[in-house]
């Protein structure tokens, strides 16, 4: 009998296992193959809390969510439609997080039912009981049993079996699957590669023999060349495309993999990843390198950003170009190291004691992670300032295809000028209007000067003269005004006026837009806009806001709820962009935020939008 074929424009798949069982690899290959077939793809890692959590533990659920579509996929979606789970505990974790669609199809390893350990059997029983209250379609799969026909330790094989199963369900191109396996395991032996392919085939076979359905998410034909990577790789690649070749860092989750990537890539392309003794030294080395002629950069996350606070102020004061990438994670303090949050915006903007104007950019997609590095380098150099690039854990580990960038030699930093400095120019010869000045680089004859974090005059001489201090402050601030004049107002998606405008920044763009589209489909007059520059702000915001009855931000950071005890409209602590926009536009911008250590789901945002309408919002 021919299996039934379900046609869908998009579908969301999860693979979850104990840590170490390789579900992530399975998900990655499935995602890459889908991208290569021409599907839109968005991949998010499901990361356990510990390096080696105990087996069969909800807190240890490890894996991947892969959302594929006919068109571009811009976010991780709402709930998973298909799940492969290696035990019922990790499945329960996802269930309890409401990560699964009501009618999800679940492929569940069932070896636990007859496990020798009584406790395990009891857990299985209780687990299935809990799950039975939902309306999932659970399909039991004897993965262990089948894998053991090929490998000794099924923990090392199930992931490939699962991959085969999924590839059969979604009728993936098996040649591409095999090619991808060969690529992924390129550093392993032939034997390993062959065994993995064998396991995949077992998965395919089992599906063919047992499953009465297939799912079709047809790809879009396109001859635009695409690349697929995660946000940290895109940051690294963007830096190289911008000609940056000195990166100093100290390991910190979820930023570290930028350095892993670059340690490899720089080896080929020329460049150094300097793992310094701490974050302070890392940013100090980057500033030294920039002073010596580079535009150097450093990559970090919350706690590391905190440590760089003082040096960032020095870079601002000495007008040394510097790019700081902050891959935001859950905070405050050590917080949730592997999870996403967007709560470093105000620290990035205001962290430095004293007035330290700087530029803040937030890429919204993995493609923008790439391009933002090129923009950041250029601004840092032209404006002799610090540019902060705020990404987050969602972008860092998410994988998405995007049009292959056409590399342009003009993106690259030029070799530092080593010709003599024109007579009688000074190292901070601020243009009286723009505050811009020429950068002197060691090696340039006649350019000798001493950079200093003390108040200084145009010749970089330490000066405690009142007017000199005021002039320096003014000139450093002025550069931001100049930059802001070159920016364009953000685009409004949807009608240019209406009842509600949703404003976002960073990685939430796709989810917000999907939610807004849904709301519009339901007849709500909602539009959205997404900010790329957070400092200086893009122009026109107040005017745009004025066309809507209400404005709200959607963010992944904390805000108080108005109906909570003691919280009043007056003392309510608001989300970070919301706060900035209120000061900037004087519009009564509201916010809807969630700080659940995971990307936002379109359906949750949709709920937030609806509430704004039904309750008249929280104005």
């Amino acid at each position: 009998m021919e299996p039934e074929v379900l046609h869908c424009s998009e579908h969301t798949v999860e693979v979850v296992s104990d840590s170490g069982e390789g579900a992530q690899k399975c998900g990655q290959i499935f995602g890459s193959v889908s991208a290569k077939m021409g599907n839109g793809v968005w991949t998010v890692e499901i990361i356990p809390a510990e390096i080696q959590p105990p087996a069969r533990n909800a807190a240890g659920a490890s894996g991947n969510r892969i959302r594929i579509g006919t068109q571009t996929v811009t976010n991780w979606g709402d709930r998973a439609n298909v799940v492969v789970a290696f035990n019922e505990q990790v499945l329960l974790a996802r269930h309890r997080l409401e990560a699964l669609a009501e009618d999800a199809v679940i492929f569940l390893e069932d070896m636990w039912e007859k496990h020798e350990d009584e406790k395990v059997r009891a857990e299985w029983q209780a687990g299935l009981e809990e799950l039975s209250r939902a309306r999932y379609r659970i399909i039991r799969v004897p993965m262990e049993e089948i894998c053991l026909t090929v490998v000794d330790d099924a923990r090392k094989g199930k992931n490939m079996f699962a991959l085969g199963l999924l590839c059969a369900v979604y009728t993936r191109d098996m040649a591409k699957v095999k090619a991808q396996i060969v690529h992924q395991f390129r550093s392993k032996s032939d034997e390993v590669r062959e065994r993995n392919i064998q396991l995949v085939e077992l998965g395919v076979r089992w599906a063919e023999e047992h499953l009465p359905f297939r799912i079709q998410v047809p790809p879009t034909e396109s001859d635009r060349p695409m690349v697929v990577m995660n946000g940290n790789e895109a940051v690294g690649m963007g830096a190289m495309a911008a000609g940056m070749d000195y990166m100093a860092m100290y390991p910190i989750t979820p930023a570290t993999s930028v350095s892993h990537y670059l340690a490899e890539a720089f080896h080929k392309a020329g460049g150094v990843v300097h793992q310094a003794e701490d974050e302070i030294a890392a940013v100090g080395c980057a500033i030294g390198a920039s002073f010596a002629g580079k535009v150097a950069f450093t990559v970090t996350s919350g706690p590391g950003l905190a440590l760089k606070t003082e040096f960032i102020g020095l870079a601002t004061m000495t007008e040394t170009p510097l790019v700081v990438v902050d891959v935001q994670r859950g905070g405050p303090s050590t917080g949730l190291p592997t999870k996403v949050e967007q709560a470093d915006l105000l620290a990035a903007l205001f962290g430095q004691p004293g007035d330290a104007p700087k530029v803040i950019i937030a890429p919204a997609t993995i493609e923008e992670c790439f391009h933002s590095m090129i923009t950041a380098r250029r601004i840092a150099e032209a404006f002799r300032c610090v540019v902060m690039v705020l990404t987050d854990a969602n972008l860092a580990t998410g994988v998405q295809p995007f049009p292959r960038p056409k590399l342009d030699p003009r993106w690259q930093a030029r070799q530092p000028d080593q010709g003599p400095v024109p007579k009688d120019t000074r190292p901070y010869e601020w243009d009286a209007r723009s505050g811009l000045s020429r950068r002197f680089i060691p090696g340039q004859p006649e350019g000798m000067f001493v950079a200093t974090g003390l108040s200084h005059d145009e010749a970089s001489r330490v000066s405690y003269v009142a007017a000199t201090n005021a002039l320096g402050l003014k000139m450093r601030s002025r550069k931001m005004a100049v930059l802001s004049e070159t920016l364009k107002p953000p685009e409004v998606r949807g009608d240019r006026s209406g009842d509600l405008l949703v404003v976002g920044w960073g990685s939430t763009k796709g989810a917000i837009e999907e939610a807004v589209d849904r709301a519009r489909a339901k007849g709500l007059k909602v539009s959205s806009t997404h900010l790329t520059f957070l400092a200086p702000m893009q122009p026109g915001l107040k005017e745009i806001f004025s066309r809507f009855k209400k404005v709200m931000t959607v963010e992944i950071n904390h805000s108080d709820e108005l109906n909570d005890p003691f919280v009043t409209k007056e003392n309510r602590r608001l989300s970070q962009l919301c706060w900035l926009l209120r000061a900037h536009t004087l519009v009564d911008v509201d916010c809807w935020s969630r700080c659940f250590g995971e990307p936002l789901r379109p359906d949750h945002i949709f709920g937030g939008i609806e509430r704004m309408f039904t309750k008249g919002g929280q104005r």
């Binding site: 190289m240 392309a269 150094v272 030294a281 030294g288 002073f291 960038p405 060691p442 004859p445 000798m448």
Partner: protein, 319 residues
Amino acid sequence: MSGSQFSLLDGDVCGDERHLTIEDYSSAVPRWCPGCGDHSALGAMQRLLESEQLKREKTVFCSGIGCSSRFPHYLKTYGFHGLHGRALPVATGIKMTRPDLNVFAIMGDGDCCSIGLGHWLHAVRYNVDMVAMLLDNNIYGLTKNQTSPTTPQGHKSNTQQQGSYLPALNPLSATLGITNCSFVAQTSDWTPAHLFQTLKAAFHHKGFSFVRVLQRCPHFTAGIYQDAVRHPDNVELLTHSAGICEPEAEGLYKNHISHDPSDLHEARRLAEGGNGKFRLGLFFRDESRPRYNETRALPKYTAEEKIEILNAELDRYAV
């Protein structure tokens, strides 16, 4: 440190061509107290620049914050007067990316041994080719008289008014305890010729050269080095053909200890002191230690070559 053999970057044709004098290397008038040992250190450094005829535009002095850290302002070279305790990371970033530059780091004892201790000892380990000079007046000068790690036990300051609680940290021993250490010397501000020779040896050493200068601060620690200044007997000079040879000091100070600077264990023993005497000279040198800046030097590609490499890289991620 000898930077001349590197020439990563082009375009330095119109640098200093003529013979440069001490004046050519001098900038603003120093603002240290009269009698401050920093004056002497500055003088010795200017002599070094002059005697080596270092290109001014190819020379960078980095410092932290403190009286001593004003140093770069008084030299007509490039300079980076950065953050308290953080001269070395900046200097490291400079040297790693610009091996053609001569890099010096100037630090005070609070700067180097208190807040900067981590960077200092890591820099010893990295062994990046530069000269690091510690101007050690055993006190916080700029902030007006607080205890530093090198303050002698019992010495009263504004923060430890009953006298410093702990014995002074020995910067030589600390440095010598770090694996990959490659050059450790001690000299003093009141032996300018020896100071000069020490800086010269440090400059010619390939690797991270740590020079501690016993520096008088008449303002806050007058008297701390008086025994050594007044009574040459209280000084012991390390001498050796492979060490620092300076006839003036050798004449003045009769106590000589012949010490082979390749002997780490003996260097540690000598650094410890113990008989209340001040020892000047080269404690340790080993040019065979790996230098982080060299193992990590940047290759040089044109923008076009880079793009080619990057395109190959993008291919790996192509859909």
